[in-house]
């Protein structure tokens, strides 16, 4: 992100600063170079003009010299060949132009060679050389003008030569006497050129109209050499040595021929300063670019860095560090932005802290409400519940006073049942009661089934000022609803004006609902308890009222049957025994029914002793069995180890269970034996009562232990309630033991009972 910003800014700044600098730099450099080049070219032109002027003067001088030679020759009174020769030789070898002429020829008026001297010889030919038809004769003789021939390169002498011919006249006459022809060494111009005051590296040369170099400043022309600049216009071109040069030309007209003076200078040399200038401007541009780049870097940095810092700070804040602040390093817009950002962050932090506090407060309130709810919903004691609700609510929410009113559906009144503190007790004792139509927040909440709230009771004309609660400033009355039913009103009072905001109302409404449920549950539980107590009282009473007459019935009958009241015959005794049996049976029924009702209501309590000796119990069971079997051919065998551990149990109940099993065995066994076997297992005592009776069909075996499901055989044979085994099962299981049977029809039944030595399931609350 910041990279892209930096990159973009850099690109933009380069576009804005560097590119124009470059363009301007290039433009100026180019302009400067062009000017320099023009200047250098001008210099060449000047040189060329000077050369051409010199050349012109020189050629004029040559012509003049020739004419002076001609004049000298003409001045001879008597043309004497020797004198003439002397003049010519003199001309060849002396004076300013002594090296100028390659050869001089004196033609007579007919065009025959009269004299011919060269630098090397005096040409004496036997044959008269006739040049009468040659242009060097015909031209000057006819036009009476100096004739200049085409320049040429003479291989023999390795010289560029030009032939110049002037007409000669008789003394004091205009009559043509002959023609003086001179082969002029153009190379001689070199001396003139060399004498020019020009720069060391300045090349100057002269070309003829054919473009051949006829003389050059530096070296003699060695061969026919073409001038590369000949056909070019001034400017850049190829120099004599083949390099790039800057050159200028100027033409000289001489005798109908054109000579061209060429001034050239190597480009490097001529434009050295220009190139230097170019270099300088390049360097300047580069420096400018560097400066611009640095400026861009610094500017971008200046702009971007605070933004980056801001961005980093923002990231810090995003990551949760609300303490982070952007550095304010300037007074500009970015500084202002950073300042605003910091202000915003501070504000954000304040808000977050505020919100956190708010949330924390709400969570705390909810937790408190939930706490109160949890504590009260488990409380089933009605009075205790109300007291806890009032106290917990008051302390948890820091209230002034909490009251609980309960609604009586029958007479449509609401009665104060609980209030906090002494004031509360006082008011409850005073029997505070409202009708629904009464004034005040509590009756209003009950009437409307909606909260009634006054956050400033002093300003509320309808508020009933309770002298017992003088400091009340805010009051919130909440209907306690159970479904659509009004259970009562929860009335909260605070000493603070404006104590209950919307959130409080929500939380308190939930609390009121919970209290309603708790109150309702407690009321139901109280009712259940009451019913249960009534039932228990009824059962106790019934038990008492049935047993009392049985005491008389059984004992009187026994007394009579024994003959203690006088002799009884067998028939009478039998009848009396029937009465006794019936009485005992009735007693068993009562016992079983009572036990069963206790088991079903879960109120069967055991009298648990820590060290119960089972031996007497077993003996009692065996004795009972023998008594029951005295009329049957059934023997009772007991198989008990010599020592048995003392057990934790309800001795009476264990006896009851074993008697039950034994009496059942006796009841259903007609002959054979009943064996009571006792074994000690790992942590338990195992009783087995085995008979040789009818046995129990597999499909009936489970029903033996189920209440009110006596088997067919049992019903037919034994009478009884059929509750004995289910009761035994409950009693044994209450001890943490098990009871089960194994049986085969026709072979007999074995009941097994296990009893833990140290029962862990016996509830301490049942132990007295």
């Amino acid at each position: 992100m910041w990279q892209s910003l930096r990159l973009r800014l850099t690109i933009i700044f380069i576009g804005l600063a560097v590119v124009p600098v470059m363009i301007v730099g290039l433009f100026l450099a180019q302009r400067g170079f062009a000017a320099e080049q023009e200047q250098a070219l001008d210099l060449q032109r000047q040189v060329a003009q000077r050369v051409s002027a010199e050349l012109d003067a020189y050629l004029q001088g040559v012509e003049t010299n020739l004419q002076s030679i001609g004049d000298e020759l003409r001045g001879l009174e008597q043309p004497d060949r020797a004198q003439q020769l002397s003049i010519l030789l003199n001309a060849l070898n002396t004076g300013t132009y002594r090296n100028l002429y390659e050869g001089l020829i004196l033609l007579d008026r007919d065009g025959h060679e009269h004299l011919h001297v060269t630098r090397n010889e005096i040409v004496n030919s036997d044959v008269v050389v006739d040049r009468s038809a040659a242009p060097e004769f015909t031209q000057p003789s006819s036009t009476r003008e100096t004739y200049v021939a085409h320049a040429y390169y003479d291989e023999a002498t390795s010289q560029a030569l030009v032939t110049i011919a002037i007409p000669m006249y008789r003394l004091r006459s205009v009559e043509l006497s002959g023609v003086l022809v001179a082969d002029v060494r153009l190379n001689a111009i070199r001396n003139m050129l060399a004498g020019l005051q020009v720069g060391d590296n300045q090349m100057v040369y002269v070309a003829d109209e054919d473009g051949h170099v006829v003389a050059r400043r530096d070296v003699p022309v060695a061969a026919e050499e073409a001038s590369p600049a000949f056909s070019s216009v001034d400017g850049r071109g190829t120099g004599l040595d083949g390099t790039d040069v800057l050159f200028a030309t100027d033409n000289v007209e001489f005798g109908g021929h054109t000579f061209t003076a060429v001034a050239e200078r190597s480009v490097d040399d001529a434009l050295e300063s220009a190139q230097n200038g170019l270099q300088v401007s390049g360097m300047v541009t580069a420096l400018a670019l560097l400066a611009a780049g640095a400026l861009v870097f610094v500017t971008v940095r200046q702009v971007v860095r605070p933004i980056e810092r801001l961005s980093r700070t923002a990231q810090d804040i995003r990551d949760g560090n609300l303490e982070a602040r952007a550095a304010v390093t300037s007074q500009d817009e970015i500084g202002t932005l950073a300042q605003s950002f910091n202000d915003m962050t501070a504000r954000l932090q304040e808000m977050i802290i505020y919100l956190e506090d708010l949330v924390e407060e709400r969570v705390r309130d909810l937790a408190l409400a939930s706490d109160v709810s949890r504590q009260i919903t488990t409380e089933l004691d009605f009075t205790k519940l109300l007291s806890e609700v009032a106290d917990l609510t008051t302390t948890s929410f820091d209230l002034y006073h909490t009251s609980i009113f309960l609604f009586d559906d029958d007479d449509q009144t609401i009665t104060l049942r609980q209030g906090t503190g002494e004031v509360g007790e006082q008011m409850v004792a005073g029997g505070k009661q409202f009708r629904l139509s009464d004034q005040g927040l509590v009756p209003q909440a009950a009437r409307d089934r909606q909260i009634a709230l006054s956050n400033d009771v002093l300003a509320n004309p309808h508020h009933f000022k309770n002298p017992l609660l003088p400091e009340t400033r805010s009051e919130l009355a909440l209907p306690m609803m159970y479904g659509n039913q009004l259970v009562g009103v929860l009335d909260l009072q605070s000493q603070t004006v404006g104590r209950f905001d919307d959130e409080d109302v929500k939380i308190m409404t939930t609390l009121a609902e919970q209290i309603a449920i708790a109150v309702r549950n407690a009321a139901l539980f109280e009712e259940v308890e009451r019913v249960s107590k009534v039932k228990s009282a009824f059962l106790a009473s019934m038990s008492h009222e049935l047993r009392t007459p049985l005491n008389a019935i059984i004992n009187f009958t026994k007394y009579v049957a024994k003959g203690s009241a006088g002799p009884v015959n067998d028939e009478q005794r039998e009848s009396l025994n029937e009465v006794i049996d019936s009485g005992k049976h009735l007693l068993n029924l009562i016992n079983d029914v009572l036990d069963m009702s206790k088991i079903e209501s879960g109120s069967l309590n055991l009298f648990v002793e820590d060290n119960v000796d089972l031996k007497p119990v077993i003996q009692a069971v065996a004795a009972t069995g023998r008594t029951l079997l005295q009329d049957k051919p059934v023997t009772v065998q007991v198989d008990v180890p010599n020592s048995l551990p003392l057990v934790k149990a309800d001795r009476q109940r264990i006896l009851q269970v074993l008697l039950n099993v034994m009496s059942n065995a006796c009841k259903f066994t007609e002959d054979g034996s009943i064996t009571l076997r006792v074994n000690q297992g790992d942590d338990e005592i195992i009783f087995a009562v085995q008979d040789t009776g009818a046995g129990i069909a597999p499909q009936d075996q489970q029903a033996v232990f189920e209440a009110f499901k006596q088997t067919e055989t049992g019903l037919r044979q034994g009478g009884g309630t059929g509750l004995g085994m289910p009761i035994s099962k409950s009693l044994i299981e209450a001890h943490g033991g098990r009871i089960w049977l194994e049986s085969e029809l026709g072979k007999g039944t074995t009941f097994y009972i296990t009893l833990p030595v140290n029962s862990t399931v016996l509830e301490p609350s049942l132990i007295t």
Partner: protein, 135 residues
């Protein structure tokens, strides 16, 4: 030589008293005193001579209940350690629990079993606790 224990029985119901008398007569026990109510119970009990070896108390009585009589007897040095056994038809769980809590030395539930009564009496006199809830 079997020494007959001296017995005090407090019972407000006529038939139960009759049963006791019958049982006593049957077992040849002649040292049984029976109070028909609990009026002036303590003075009467303290006035007994010889002092009873065992006391049977009915529970539902007036003006003093069996519990109150027990409490009174336990306050006296004479009867502090005498076996005091409840003889009641109220043998529901809670009721038996209350008897134990109150400090009775046992309970013989009504209806009494005249066959086992002599043995029970013997054991009680010997200092054994007997809780015969089921007859």
């Amino acid at each position: 030589m079997y020494q007959q224990p001296v017995v005090l029985y407090v019972e407000d119901e006529e038939r139960s008293r009759k049963v006791m008398r019958m049982i006593a007569s049957d077992m040849g026990l002649s040292t049984v005193t029976i109070f028909e109510n609990s009026q002036d119970f303590l003075p009467r009990a303290l006035a007994l001579d010889p002092r009873p070896d065992v006391i049977f108390l009915d529970i539902h009585m007036k003006p003093f209940t069996g519990f109150e009589m027990l409490e009174m007897l336990r306050q006296t040095p004479q009867y502090e350690h005498t076996p005091i056994v409840a003889m009641t038809a109220s043998v529901m769980n809670e009721e038996v629990q209350q008897l134990r809590t109150a400090g009775f030395d046992g309970c013989l539930a009504k209806p009494l079993d005249m066959d086992t009564f002599p043995e029970s009496l013997n054991r009680i006199v010997m200092g054994e606790q007997i809780w015969r809830i089921f007859s």
